[in-house]
């Protein structure tokens, strides 16, 4: 008896010791900041001066802050265009590359390559390609006769140039996840469909896409969460401009906190962002749970 108990106690001690470094790092740099951000969001801080307690004033300011609502709208619009595009393109690429063909591995790798290039480098390519005066996109459009598009001086084209780069970056991830999911569909299902004389299109619509449902849902949630955090490409490519037409929630939070040095206000924006992401996560969790029960 005693030996069992001492062995258990020793295992518990070892377990705690092994987990300790990770737990310590998380406690100090994650859990504590997550509590602190609420606290700081109730203060007014300018520069490194002493913080003043202002209660919910930062949140009231957010409600009447036009730039905040613009940033939220831009983020939502960017998400609403970019996520479905990446999804459809990723699925198309996965279906295309699911069959045997020469150099399939290499082609897949090429589709995935932009995902390993840094956000800054991707944004620099984007800024260069979509440069309004001398960029390649406008030069080609000029040759074709479609005239220059104001990628940098008007809001909507600027947002679309960001979406284009996000598609370039995000396609590979969606493709890889879809490819893995396609492997998971039982072969018999497709064979049965073929025996029944189903056309390719019917098989895709009635079998493949429904079978991929959980994967699609997962990719949508991940896509939305990632899009709500898009920072690198926006900050480097458009800097939120022209005006504030491509300012996103996170770039606005960054500029409030570290350019205008209003860290209380930046934290309040952070809390709002946190709540949005939290809702998304809970929705995903609930849907998955319901599916598991059913």
């Amino acid at each position: 008896m005693a030996t069992v108990r001492t062995r258990r106690a020793r295992e518990a001690l070892t377990g705690l010791a092994f987990a300790a470094p990770a737990v310590a790092v998380f406690a100090v740099f994650m859990f504590w900041p997550l509590i602190q951000v609420f606290w700081i969001s109730l203060q007014q801080t300018r520069g490194f001066g002493i913080a003043k307690w202002v209660g919910l004033q930062n949140y009231q300011e957010i409600l009447s802050d036009k730039i905040f609502w613009t940033a939220l709208w831009n983020t939502a619009l960017y998400t609403a265009i970019s996520v479905p595009l990446c999804l459809v393109a990723g699925l198309a690429a996965a279906l295309l590359l699911n069959r045997r063909m020469p150099a399939r591995g290499l082609i897949r790798a090429v589709y995935y390559l932009p995902a390993v290039i840094s956000g800054v480098s991707s944004a620099l390519i984007g800024a260069w390609l979509f440069n309004e005066d001398i960029g390649l996109v406008n030069r080609i459009l000029d040759v074709v006769g479609l005239g220059p598009v104001p990628w940098q001086s008007e809001g909507v084209p600027a947002l679309f140039s960001l979406v284009a780069i996000s598609l370039w970056i995000g396609l590979g991830f969606n493709m890889v996840v879809y490819l893995a999911a396609l492997q998971g569909i039982p072969r018999e299902v497709f064979e049965a469909a073929r025996c029944d004389g189903a056309s390719r299109w019917a098989t895709l619509r009635r079998i493949t896409i429904p079978q991929l449902g959980p994967t699609t849902f997962f990719l949508i949630v991940i896509g939305i969460i990632n899009s709500f955090q898009v920072f690198d490409i926006v900050y480097v490519m458009t800097g939120g401009g022209p005006g504030n037409s491509t300012t996103m929630l996170v770039t606005y939070a960054y500029s409030a906190g570290f350019e205008q040095r209003q860290q209380g206000y930046a934290s309040a924006i952070g809390v709002v962002l946190y709540l949005i992401v939290l809702v998304m996560t809970i929705v995903q969790w609930r849907v998955n749970k319901r599916r598991d029960v059913a």
Binding site: W32, L34, I40, I107, A109, Y112, S121, V236, F258
Partner: protein
């Protein structure tokens, strides 16, 4: 049909590669060539000044050293922390195990920008502002890596560990001699992904590093963008240089990238 498929797939691949190709063309062409009349999709002359000019004017070498230091130290520390903690959460019973694990996993979705202000205050309090360690330490809390480590180690049979226990081995010894040798694929994925995240990271080093000498490559590239303005030749050359380590890692471990990503997608 198969032929159309292949044609489509190759067209797509060309389109995906084109931006990188255009970077290379820009990097070796003079800016007059890029602006001049007539549209060329290939280089008309080769010019190395785009490469040598910024290297002599800016501390690019320092940035590379900083990037390598941060990425290597962060990879070693993060992977070690995740491996031992992954083992504890997967195989050892201790009080609070499940609560702690759920708490850690729940931070998976937290955007950096939510906690950046409090994290910044911590880094200031610890006196790490402007230093490489200020970039490294707050990022050691990597929930995704810990999650992968635990998932992988759960699949290791308990019997292996119990057999070693009966031989009187300590847990540390079991971890080192029995568990770790089985974890090679896991370690590969953890190393590759952590390296990629730290090498490509931008927002956090931008906040922590103040002095241009202390920049990482990513922050340095932004600095160069502001220096060169519309002259993209040098910018593309420097951007390409900064991508080389990542491209090599990708080329060598491509299979791990794809598998790791796919595994993160299927639950």
């Amino acid at each position: 049909m198969t032929r159309y498929r292949l044609a489509f797939a190759i067209t797509g691949a060309v389109a995906m590669l084109f931006p990188v190709y255009w970077m290379v063309v820009t990097a070796i062409s003079s800016s007059a060539d890029m602006r001049g009349p007539g549209l060329h999709l290939w280089p008309t002359s080769v010019r190395w000044e785009n490469l040598t000019d910024p290297l002599s004017k800016f501390p690019y070498g320092m940035w590379a050293v900083n990037s390598v230091f941060i990425a290597v130290v962060a990879v070693v520390l993060t992977v070690v922390i995740n491996l031992i903690a992954g083992y504890a959460f997967a195989k050892l019973r201790f009080p609070g195990r499940n609560v702690l694990f759920i708490l850690i996993i729940s931070t998976l979705m937290v955007p950096v920008q939510v906690v950046m202000v409090p994290q910044f205050h911590l880094v200031v309090d610890f006196g790490l502002i402007g230093s490489d360690w200020g970039v490294i330490v707050p990022r050691l809390a990597e929930a995704f890596g810990l999650f992968m480590a635990r998932q992988f180690m759960m699949a290791i049979p308990d019997e292996l560990i119990e057999a070693a226990q009966c031989d009187g081995s300590s847990q540390w010894r079991i971890f080192r001699t029995v568990v770790l040798p089985l974890c090679r694929p896991l370690i590969a994925v953890l190393v590759i992904f952590t390296f990629m995240w730290r090498w490509n990271e931008f927002a956090w080093p931008l906040i922590v590093l103040k002095d241009p000498e202390s920049y990482t490559l990513q922050v340095g590239l932004l600095f160069l963008k502001n220096q060169y303005g519309q002259d993209y030749g040098s910018l593309m050359a420097m951007s390409l240089l900064s991508m080389i380590p990542m491209i090599i890692v990708f080329a060598l471990f491509q299979r791990h990238f794809v598998e790791g990503m796919a595994r993160s997608g299927i639950k």
